[in-house]
Symmetry: C3
Subunit: 130 residues, 3 copies
């Protein structure tokens, strides 16, 4: 398992971690299989989305904020919204490995979704041979 | 990695791809393991849900449309709603392989969720032995 | 594939299944890999979230209920809300196995999310070596 450390600068933020994941796949030496990318956190998530137009990322962050319901968030730490959104988006993604490379679509990039930053975060990468 | 090609006919649509995935599992010859089913797209998703009552699929599509917040979607291509919903639902599912078959529950089927169609789409299937 | 049986007591409920999953990982004897935890159901889900403060789980259940749109749910069984939320949260999670143990973060626990209980449910656990 490879551990990648990244830092966020804002409360909610998308951090592109594609290059780190690609390096972990190359270091694994695997030709075919899958790559599992996870956060060991409950107020962050991992997702794939477009890397070409930066406004897509802004829209995702704005829409996540906008769907938050007006419920009472009594959790003593005041960050239950982050726990909820991490549950909706998910703590991991799995991506194929093909011909020795992370098999992303033309527009796909791997992002850490920070939901309660700024913080230092870890990403755990596990590669499996098929 | 097996590549399945499917076409959608509407902007938002569920396309049942279970049979194609079952064929990929059979062709792999694996007895026990997992099957990873992913789209290389950022405006589509993959999900499992009920295949018996067609109204369930309609409800899912209606509810996805209904939770879209009234935010500004400034992305130049005008399809940020599709990027957002693909992030919520997810670009892949993983299903066990048991006794040489895709181990779905009694009511589960595998669907491509089209969010910005009509388009031709790919589904990437990777099987791993446990 | 290990099958875990659990029961829910309420319509919507989080059931901590971490111990059962840890036991399946220990029984597999695997040192490094991934553990896939899935439900064969279309009105339940699996998620990771915090186990320390019980109010986090309550907030997640409240927020899931609050984001349900006011659409018509015509499904004859009257549980389309459960199908929709299971699609958003997802039917499975995948967690790394590291040094022979389920590699959860400090605050992470594995939960069955019941969305149409009370019922008896199954959880299917598959471990793969990396």
């Amino acid at each position: 398992m490879d551990v990648i450390e990244v830092s966020s600068q804002r409360r909610r933020q998308l951090v592109d971690v594609t290059t780190f994941v690609q390096e972990a796949v190359a270091a694994s030496g695997m030709a075919e299989g899958i790559c599992h990318v996870a956060v060991p956190h409950t107020t962050a998530a991992v997702l794939l989305n477009e890397n070409a137009d930066p406004s897509v990322g802004e829209h995702i962050l704005n829409a996540l904020a906008a769907i938050l319901p007006a419920v009472s968030w009594r959790h003593s730490e005041g960050n239950s919204d982050a726990h909820f959104l991490s549950t909706l988006v998910g703590h991991s993604v799995t991506v194929p490995i093909n011909a020795g490379e992370l098999a992303l679509g033309r527009w796909q990039a791997v992002y850490l979704l920070e939901l309660d930053g700024p913080r230092r975060r870890e990403i755990w990468v596990t590669c499996l041979r098929s």
